[in-house]
Symmetry: C2
Subunit: 197 residues, 2 copies
Amino acid sequence: MFSEKVEHLIQALSLMPSVGKKTAQRLAIHLLQHDRAAATQIANAINAAVGSVGSCQRCRNLSEHPICHICRDSRRNDSLICVVEGPMDVIAIEQSTNFSGRYFVLMGHLSPLDGIGPNELGLDILEATLQSGQTQELILATNVNAEGDATAYYLAELARKYGVSTSRIAFGVPMGGELEYTDSYTLGHAFERRTQF
Amino acid sequence: MFSEKVEHLIQALSLMPSVGKKTAQRLAIHLLQHDRAAATQIANAINAAVGSVGSCQRCRNLSEHPICHICRDSRRNDSLICVVEGPMDVIAIEQSTNFSGRYFVLMGHLSPLDGIGPNELGLDILEATLQSGQTQELILATNVNAEGDATAYYLAELARKYGVSTSRIAFGVPMGGELEYTDSYTLGHAFERRTQF
Ligand SMILES: [Zn+2]
Ligand SMILES: [Zn+2]
């Protein structure tokens, strides 16, 4: 419909998650018609980030510094480590809780069929930290699904090896959730873990 | 929350229309965590398009060629010109109709308060075409709102000067539309333009 370079831009923008063809068309036309300065700023920011953002050597979160700002923050509690699957989980926990310990970001979960084992998740780094003896509690905040549970189980075994206690975020029927609309996996676990009333 | 370059990327992505902070975070993390090849492809496509896409000299639509592919297409009918406000309107008409004439893309509408007059919309180019005598009908497909109507009115006057007949896309209550939920501007016009039943 458009000239090649406009079509290329539309195709490239539609590589972004949840951006369909129609949205990509709107974005491309908007940027070219109304905001080329923004377009250039986006391209520059992408290139700058892709060129320099790697993984924090301590927690594996995305950072362009060898040690990220959370790991550098001396006010945070070294004896607590919260393990999460990805960077968005760090944001969610920072925004919803008053957790002031450290993080370890797996950048995924164990998935043997996809060739993702302990090494791919950087568990050697986590193991070295557990071995150092300064960790008192490992909080397992992987997702509450089959993969996240399996990963949490593996991590709990690892922690036990070094005498570090573990905890798993509570899961059950969400606040305000009606049983009728709760998925069976959640409801099954919530029923099993019922507490005295 | 994140390191500077990641935050810059999030800010840049949120310059896109209808991309809020949360969506921009998801996009940035996704690109950096899972798809750096796509990220680089997007940056390259933006730079290529911004660097070379301009306006077609004949119809003003976005194109990296001096004359766009629709204007170059010799199978299209030179005697019909459809005037639209923007590139997305060309897509909409190409997809919804069997129009096979030419387009003229205003890249906006008359808006004297914003300093957008006939020159800013390239109407000198359109006038030269009308003057050449090959145009039989100018189809006014600007938006159906106050600005689009005012622009259509101005274009109709221009066409009259050169003896070119004009038409305006029909407007009224949309197909399947209920009167109760139709905005008053539309309903007022639909009522006024009622036809014998
Ligand atoms: Zn870190
Ligand atoms: Zn053209």
